[in-house]
């Protein structure tokens, strides 16, 4: 089972994190930015599970962190989408450049 070294899994999660970051930098649409945030959270989950399995197999803390991160990500997505839909109602746009009332 351990023939794949942990570095390979960490390479995957690091790459996924920075792909999400790239999406966060280049996108200007709120829904696609939310998708990029989901990718980032998933890369963190992979990290937690891999560290728990490879470095501390007698404990379960990484599994619990993953479960709590998934629960909070679901809550965060629901609140964010409620805000986005409300913003679309008042501004007719979900571009971040159009929502500048609270910028200054």
């Amino acid at each position: 089972m351990n023939e794949i070294s942990i570095n390979h899994i960490l390479f995957l999660s690091t790459a996924l994190f920075f792909i999400g970051l790239y999406g966060l930098f280049t996108r200007r649409n709120m829904i696609t930015m939310l998708m990029a945030v989901e990718l980032i959270l998933n890369s963190v989950n992979i990290n937690f599970v891999a560290f728990n399995k490879y470095l501390f197999p007698e404990r379960l803390d990484g599994i619990f962190f993953t479960i709590f991160i998934i629960a909070i990500a679901a809550a965060e997505a629901a609140v964010a989408i409620a805000i986005i839909i409300n913003l679309y109602r008042s501004h007719q746009s979900i571009d971040v450049e159009d929502a500048t009332e609270m910028k200054y």
Binding site: A77, I84, I94
Partner: protein, 171 residues
């Protein structure tokens, strides 16, 4: 190269390719579908890591919940076939440089760090997870569990309050 490593490399390629397409495609609906594929690949990775409970939670919450919510909100906010405006090439170049150097630095740190691998059997039985989740001793997670349930309730109430149509002021 054995079957497990072939499966791992296949899953890794699939996840990264779907993620890259998800952040670069210009049609928002396709972006959501690529995100869906990437999340399914991550669930497969959890199956490969033999943590079946996390894989099941990943499929139920992410694939069944969050992606469906995102697709609903795409339908509610704009036409799904419309292309997003083109990103300026200077922004693409600067972001690519930033993530390239960030990735290089992070992976260099990971590569040079020698992890001490424990070659023990990892028991992630659902029964064991459940016992630890609701234990009240030092290793238990009963308090965070309760806090998360309060948080979910608060988030639900908050969503309803935000999304509720405000009544016009009567005079």
């Amino acid at each position: 190269m054995s079957a497990t490593s072939i499966i791992f490399y296949f899953l890794a390629t699939f996840i990264l390719a779907a993620a890259i397409l998800s952040v670069t495609t210009r049609k928002i609906f396709r972006s959501a579908i690529w995100l869906l594929f990437s999340l399914i690949g991550i669930a497969g990775l959890y199956f490969w890591l033999a943590v079946e409970f996390i894989a099941a939670v990943q499929i139920v919450v992410y694939v069944g919940g969050i992606v469906v919510l995102i697709i609903f909100s795409i339908f509610l906010t704009q036409q799904s076939g419309k292309e997003m405006p083109k990103v300026s090439s200077s922004r693409i170049l600067l972001s690519a440089l930033a993530i390239f150097f960030g990735f290089a630095l992070t992976y260099l740190l990971i590569y040079q760090n020698g992890f001490r691998i424990e070659n023990k059997y990892f028991d992630s039985d659902i029964e064991r997870i459940g016992t630890h989740m609701l234990a009240t001793d030092n290793t238990g997670f009963a308090l965070p569990f309760e806090v998360v349930s309060i948080l979910l309730l608060a988030a639900m109430v908050g969503c309803i309050v935000i999304a509720m149509k405000s009544k016009p002021i009567e005079k």
